[in-house]
Subunit: 305 residues, 2 copies
């Protein structure tokens, strides 16, 4: 049985870690602020649709050194904490340790590859709506799926192992031919919905899907991403874009993670969600006036000018 | 001596009315919320550069009927109150009464023309930075100039009279060949600076001029207006656009009127400043992606979706 470490036990790390542990896996959680609560009460997961559960006891740790070497590291810290990853991950790495980023946005796998070597790096891209509503308490608002991919190259024995691991824990999962393409696709949701909910003054996603003018703006942002992705050889079909609206309508009055970070004055993942696709797209001479504007407005709203 | 009524004694109406009255003109002020304060203490005008003064006593009125017929009506209510203008102006109108809009944005003169006939309508476009810092207390932060124009047609004996009236009161003033062109020019300031200060999360104008990325965004918005204005036969030179940045740098940490309205949860002049130029430009097939986005974000931020 693989030894698994969860780095960053927020909504994503807490949820997927708890699901894996509940299925009998050997999971070890690194926590900072929520350590005491989780150590004492475990991790509670509630579902809008599904059976609530509490994982208890939890293998909770305050430092990576206490966890020691593992087979799989699931990385779920905010990308704004990427500069701390060297220290957080080093003690976990053995000869064959896999590093799987579950983080939002573009550039995270590249960052891990730079730090620890590209051959270790995979990604598990989360299409799901989770909120951490209190320390150690996660709410699953909308159950989507997980896409696993190699950082470099096509599906491999490793992605097959990851897929089975998650599926055996009750998580819908697929393997993807290209991480890069998956990231562009995921940004088709994050760029407009995480972005416009902030830039429109702190609205929930239902305000966007219920307004013709804001939906049109969201769609135009997605089309800019579609053009940029195409410049890198990735096809994002129009139906995929329309599907984002159908999915989002089901979420109700959802607050994307970036909006929550913004409202609670925590660091927002500006560069991976808006900066990186803008820089990549404009480097290929793709006009992205709306993404550029959104990126700058969010930076300014976060006091970055 | 012409009998003058000021409709809307906020920053603009209070300032220009007080300047005219101080110079010996026969000026009558319509007030609502600030009536008691102004009746008791007069209108106080402070200057960043210039000699402060208080106009006292003030011909203050609670209703237009109490003012009666005048020769010149200076209209300085927020454009968001345009639906009240019929009642506010009717009692002031004699056979030859001039209606001079000093309001922000596009479409105000058109609205007056519809209500009272195009032949009565003129405009005095204010390039100035004023704040109403308390009831009956106005602060002149940056002294610009006034441009008077006929609603229809070129300078006339009437615009010459208005120009002299203002100049004799110590106000820099010029006559303009085209109201429409002047409005497009003024929007080159209002669209980006009133707009981005709101959409960037409530920053002052210095944040925009001090940031390369936000200045570039402001400039791109101005270039969209330049293209739209050109489609209507108006030339806005590049030097005019650059001058807006030079002027704004002198204003320091200025809060445009729309930002103040927004922060104080008062109605924002969304349609005249962003909606009207967008509708006019797109009707001529001018691509205005940034203005469209700004318009929609501000509408959403003001709870209009």
């Amino acid at each position: 049985m693989p030894r698994i470490a969860i780095i960053g036990t927020g909504a994503i790390g807490g949820y997927y870690g708890a699901m894996l542990a509940k299925a009998g896996n050997d999971v070890h959680f690194l926590l900072r602020n929520d350590y005491a609560t989780v150590h004492e009460n475990g991790i509670r997961v509630d579902f809008a649709k599904g059976e609530n559960f509490t994982l208890y006891p939890v293998n909770a740790y305050k430092s990576s050194a206490d966890i020691g070497v593992v087979d799989i590291v699931l990385i779920a810290v905010k990308a704004t904490a990427n500069d701390q990853l060297t220290d957080l991950i080093k003690p976990l790495i053995g000869e064959n340790t896999w590093l799987v980023t579950m983080q939002n946005g573009m550039g995270n796998a590249d960052h891990l590859a730079q730090l620890f070597g590209a051959e270790r790096v995979l990604a598990a891209i989360c299409f799901i709506s989770l909120n951490r509503i209190a320390p150690g308490h996660i709410y699953n608002l909308f159950n989507g799926y997980l896409s696993v991919a190699e950082f470099q190259g096509t599906p491999s024995p490793r992605t097959a192992v990851l897929k089975k691991l998650f599926e055996d824990a009750g998580i819908k999962c697929d393997e993807l031919p290209s991480l890069d393409e998956t990231l562009w696709r995921k940004l088709c949701w994050n760029v407009p919905f995480n972005g416009l909910t902030i830039a429109a003054g702190g609205v929930t996603t239902d305000v966007i899907v219920n307004s013709e003018e804001l939906s049109d703006l969201a769609r135009k942002l997605m089309l800019e991403l579609q053009s940029a992705a195409a410049a890198f050889g990735h096809t994002i079909p129009d139906e995929f874009i329309e599907k984002q609206f159908t999915l989002t309508r089901k979420m109700g009055a959802y607050k994307p993670s970036s909006l929550i970070d913004f409202l609670e004055k925590r660091p927002v993942e500006i560069e991976p969600i808006w900066g990186e696709p803008l820089h990549r797209g404009t480097a290929k001479n793709i006009p992205m006036p709306r993404l550029e504007m959104l990126y700058r407005l969010i930076k300014a709203s976060c006091g970055k000018f």
